[in-house]
């Protein structure tokens, strides 16, 4: 019977093109508004590293000012000082996989002289960064522990930077010059765009990852300044060395802790470290350490802005308004077809049969609304992209994936079916006798 119902649904839609178009438009506009916001929220709140998000933990300890809370009650500093990053890393040794890094920038001087020097965004980190965050390599590989230890001048390039410098070829073994220092290329990444940029959300979590990766030991030795957020609560004398020994926070640290036992042991390690520092006169506040997995860390940092949730709520309200209109239109359609309904009842259709017929017809309208909704969502996303054309990261927030396309159609069909319940019930309960006799 489904094929028969589909045929009747199509006939009915063709017989009432204006009314059907209005219903499709009402659902499509509602879905378009909803899906535009949902798409942005979906991209913003997606899991950027699904396979490992439960075992990667962001490390926070309270090294802040005893007289002023960091951002509010119970708020921990988001980053670590150089002293603590190196101290915890040393304490962790080979027992735990720990990565610490910071954002910087360099001026790159192309070797062939064909291009002018330009600024590249760099990340100073350790060799474990690549395996911990599963960065995909096109050429070469990460540097190793010895390179970190020995402060070797090595670099891993992003796919885009390799394209620009070497035309996308294999540059492993070649050298690049940044701020006058020569670095040997050891690897090139495949295009890698985690959204959000989970490993460092202290800056814009939707900006692109860095273009070049250097050993943090090299960066610190060469006094590469931080290009990310840097916060200090205690004055320090000038100079890079003093900065390294200050209470300024500018490092992000992650630990890979696959089991609950690992996490527990690492918490003990942190506690012991803080206790030790307290004996040295640091950490004036009460001990407060935290380990947050990837999704907790995204949530703590409100990677998905509250405004998006408010907008999403408003968009759903708008969808409800559209559905109320659809209910009215469907009722009008049903009332115009009481004679047809009565006739079918007389010819043997039960209430259930008619209900199914009208539900299928509503489903068809829902699919139409879904398709229109996808088109309107695409337009909405392009509108947002144009509105914020100056921000590179917006481009990555306004892309629809198949999940969202299917969700749009699914939501449209469910919405249409919900809207059809009352009119369909009315249709199934039309009293046939009164409609059949008089023309």
């Amino acid at each position: 019977m489904l094929r028969y119902y589909l045929k009747l649904g199509m006939l009915s839609i063709r017989a009432n093109p204006a009314l059907s178009a209005l219903m499709v438009a009402a659902i499509g506009i509602g879905i378009g508004a909803c899906m535009t916001i949902m798409t942005i929220q979906h991209v913003m709140s997606g899991n950027p590293i699904p396979g490992k998000s439960d075992s990667l933990y962001y490390v926070q300890i309270d090294s802040w000012d005893p007289n002023n809370e960091y951002n509010g009650p119970n708020e921990l500093p988001e980053q670590l000082t150089y002293l603590d990053a190196t101290g915890i890393d040393a304490a962790a040794g080979d027992e735990f996989r720990v990565v610490w890094s910071y954002k910087s920038s360099r001026i790159l001087q192309p070797g062939d002289g064909a291009d002018l020097p330009f600024e590249v965004r760099t990340r100073a980190t350790s060799f474990r960064f690549f395996s911990m965050f599963a960065l995909p390599f096109r050429y070469g590989a990460s540097w190793d522990a010895a390179a970190d230890r020995n402060r070797e001048q090595v670099v891993v390039l992003s796919s885009a930077l390799n394209e620009r410098l070497f035309g996308g070829g294999n540059p492993v073994g070649e050298s690049v010059t940044m701020n006058g220092d020569v670095y040997r290329v050891v690897g090139v990444l495949e295009p890698w765009l985690p959204v959000p940029k989970f490993y460092d959300v202290t800056n814009n979590p939707y900006e692109e990852p860095e273009e070049a990766y250097l050993p943090v030991t090299v960066a610190v030795a060469a006094e590469h300044d931080s290009a990310g957020n840097t916060n200090c609560w205690k004055p320090f004398p000038g100079g890079y060395e003093a900065f390294l020994n200050s209470e300024c926070i500018w490092f992000q640290m992650w630990a890979e802790l696959p089991t609950a036992a690992d996490k527990s042991r690492f918490e003990q390690l942190l506690a012991a470290y803080v206790e030790e520092q307290k004996t040295l006169g640091r950490f004036p506040r009460e001990m407060h350490n935290e380990l947050s997995d990837v999704m907790e860390w995204m949530q703590d940092n409100e990677v998905v802005d509250d405004d998006v949730s408010v907008l999403l709520g408003l968009a759903f309200l708008f969808l409800v308004v559209c559905l109320l209109n659809t209910i009215g239109l469907l009722l009008a359609k049903v009332m115009r077809r009481t004679k047809d309904i009565s006739l079918r009842r007389a010819l043997g259709a039960s209430k259930q049969t008619l209900f199914a017929q009208y539900v299928v017809e509503a489903g068809l309208i829902g699919i139409g609304g879904g398709v229109l909704g996808i088109a309107l969502t695409w337009l909405g996303l392009r509108g947002i992209e144009n509105l914020f054309a100056g921000y590179d990261f917006v481009e990555r927030l306004v892309t629809m994936d198949w999940v969202m396309v299917l969700l749009a159609v699914g939501l449209a069909v469910v919405s249409a079916l919900a809207a059809a319940l009352y009119p369909t019930w009315r249709a199934a309960n039309v009293t046939p006798a009164s409609q059949l006799r008089i023309q």
Binding site: L343, R345, G348
Partner: protein, 234 residues
Amino acid sequence: MLKMTKVSKIYRTDTVETHALREFSLEVQEGEFVSVTGPSGSGKTTFLNIAGLLEELTSGTYELDGRDISALSDRERSKVRNEKIGFIFQSFNLIPELNIFDNVDVPLRYRGFAAPDRRKRIENSLEMVGLASRMEHYPAQLSGGQQQRVAIARALAGEPRFLLADEPTGNLDTEMATNVLDLLDEINGNGTTIIMVTHELTLADRAKRNIFVRDGRVSDGPPEFRLAAAGGQG
């Protein structure tokens, strides 16, 4: 075969009660051709609607093929309606968006017949009413008489035991009306029980038995009716 005993039908609004049928009793045997006449508002259409399970009765009993239908669920009533009863309406009631083939197909779809069986039944019934060559036409492309014949084909396609006709010639001219009545005679001759509601005594005269309804009850009727009824029975 069809037996109504003291059937009452009351339509109620907040302020008004209308007794459409009052202790209406009637028995129709298999193979009969019964006409039901009476003045406007006498209850003849209400009787037909109850007989066709399109309305529920208020009190009394209604047995169809020995089965009390008053306790049936909507699904069971629909099944009985689909399998045992064919309807012919004054206004034909064809579905304008469907061609003739698909119009006749409607009750067969609800019956659940397989496609080849449906096609055979549709072709046979349209053949019987002389419209086999018009299967692809739409109702608007046919005359009134042809449309009513399509409606008859639709009513017959499922081979119902009962044919309920409500003023079947009311929208037709004399020649077309005669053709339709000839067709009903032929159908009745094949064993289908027919109950026809009409307000015209000359049409009622074509039936084998005439019933007169007044004020919701079976009544003797006026002298001209009794005369016609006597002729019909003779």
